[in-house]
C-alpha cells in the first residue's frame, strides 16, 4: 500500500517542476543538470545545487555587508561578486535569480546605491523562493525513492527454479 505513494509523489514533482519552469524560476539548464544524473552519480543535482546554495549565501552576505557599510564606495567589488553570482545561477538554471543579478549589476555600474539596495532585497527574495522550492523538490524526490523501494522489494527466487 505504501508503494502507491511513489506515483503520486512523481506526479507532484512534475507539477512542481512545471510550475517553476512556467514562472521562469528555472530554465532549460536545470534539465541539463538532471540529464547528468544517473546510477553512477545519483545525487548529482542536489550536490551541485547545495554547492550553489553555500556559495550564494556567502555572496549575499558579502553584498549586504558592502551595502550596509556607510562608507561604501567599492562598486567594482560589488560587480565582481555579482558576476560570480550571475555565473553560478546561470550554470544551475536559476533564471530569475540571474536576471535580478543583471539588474543589480546595472545599478552598480551606475553607482546607484539606492538602486543596489532595492536590487539586493529583490535578490534575497528570489533566492529564498528558489531555495525553498528546490528543497521541497529534493524532499519529495527522497520520499518517492523510499516509496518506490517499498513497492518493489527484492524478489526471492525458489531454489529449484531453473
Amino acid at each position: 500500500m505504501l508503494g502507491f505513494g511513489a506515483e503520486r509523489l512523481r506526479a507532484y514533482m512534475n507539477r512542481l517542476l512545471a510550475l517553476l519552469f512556467h514562472q521562469g524560476v528555472l530554465d532549460e539548464q536545470f534539465l541539463q543538470l538532471q540529464q547528468l544524473q544517473d546510477e553512477s552519480s545519483p545525487n548529482f543535482v542536489s550536490e551541485v545545487v547545495n554547492i550553489y546554495f553555500h556559495e550564494s549565501e556567502k555572496l549575499l552576505r558579502n553584498l549586504r555587508g558592502l551595502l550596509l557599510d556607510r562608507e561604501f564606495s567599492d562598486f567594482k567589488k560589488m560587480g565582481s561578486h555579482l558576476n560570480q553570482f550571475m555565473g553560478s545561477s546561470s550554470s544551475i538554471g536559476a533564471q530569475r535569480v540571474r536576471n535580478v543579478c543583471v539588474a543589480f549589476r546595472a545599478a552598480s555600474e551606475q553607482s546607484n546605491r539606492a538602486g543596489c539596495m532595492r536590487a539586493l532585497e529583490l535578490l534575497e527574495c528570489e533566492y529564498c523562493y528558489l531555495k525553498n522550492k528546490l528543497h521541497e523538490l529534493f524532499q519529495i524526490e527522497q520520499q518517492r525513492i523510499l516509496a518506490a523501494a517499498v513497492r518493489y522489494p527484492p524478489v526471492q527466487h525458489p531454489i529449484n527454479n531453473p
Binding site: 541539463q32 547528468l36 560570480q84 553560478s88 546561470s90
Partner: protein
C-alpha cells in the same frame, strides 16, 4: 592526481580550469560522462603547475624548462579546457603560455566564457584555441572535444 597503470593509456586526460566551484562540479561531471579522465583545478597558476610550466623555485613561468617535457614523472594531458575570466592568470594567459611552450604547444586548448564577445572569441581563436564555448557549457559542447583529442593521439 597522478595514477600509475593502464588507465592512463586508454582514457583521454582532460585538465579543466575554473575559479567557480559550481562550474568546476559541472564541467567535471560533463567530462566524466564522456569517459574522460578529469583533473579539475581552480586557477591558472594551479594549471601551469600541473602542466609543469611553472618554475617552482621562484614562481616564474618557464616555458622552455625540461620539466615541462612529459616524462614518466609528468601526467600526460590531452586537452585543456579553461574559463576565460579568472583572477590572476586568465584563461587567455593560460592559452598563450601553453601555445608558447615548446613541449606543450600541441595540446588542444578550449576556452569557456559567460560573455559572448566577438572580439574575445576572435583573439582566443587567433591565439590557437580550438573551440570557444559559451557558458553554461552543455553536453553538446563537450561532444565537440573528441575530434581534437583523436587528432592529438594520432
Amino acid at each position: 592526481m597522478a595514477k600509475g597503470g593502464v588507465s592512463l593509456e586508454t582514457k583521454f586526460h582532460v585538465l579543466a580550469v575554473d575559479d567557480s566551484i559550481v562550474d568546476r562540479k559541472l564541467i567535471e561531471r560533463l567530462l566524466k560522462t564522456s569517459s574522460y579522465q578529469v583533473t579539475v583545478v581552480e586557477s591558472g597558476v594551479k594549471a601551469l603547475e600541473f602542466l609543469g610550466l611553472l618554475d617552482d623555485k621562484n614562481g616564474s613561468i618557464d616555458s622552455t624548462s625540461h620539466s615541462a617535457t612529459q616524462n614518466h614523472h609528468q601526467v600526460q594531458v590531452n586537452l585543456v579546457i579553461t574559463d576565460y575570466s579568472m583572477p590572476g592568470i586568465t584563461g587567455y594567459d593560460l592559452l598563450r603560455k601553453i601555445k608558447e611552450s615548446t613541449s606543450l604547444k600541441n595540446i588542444p586548448v578550449v576556452i569557456m566564457s559567460s560573455e559572448d564577445l566577438p572580439s574575445r572569441i576572435n583573439s582566443c581563436l587567433e591565439k590557437g584555441a580550438e573551440e570557444f564555448f559559451l557558458k553554461p557549457v552543455q553536453q553538446s559542447d563537450v561532444n565537440k572535444l573528441r575530434p581534437h583529442l583523436l587528432r592529438g593521439k594520432a
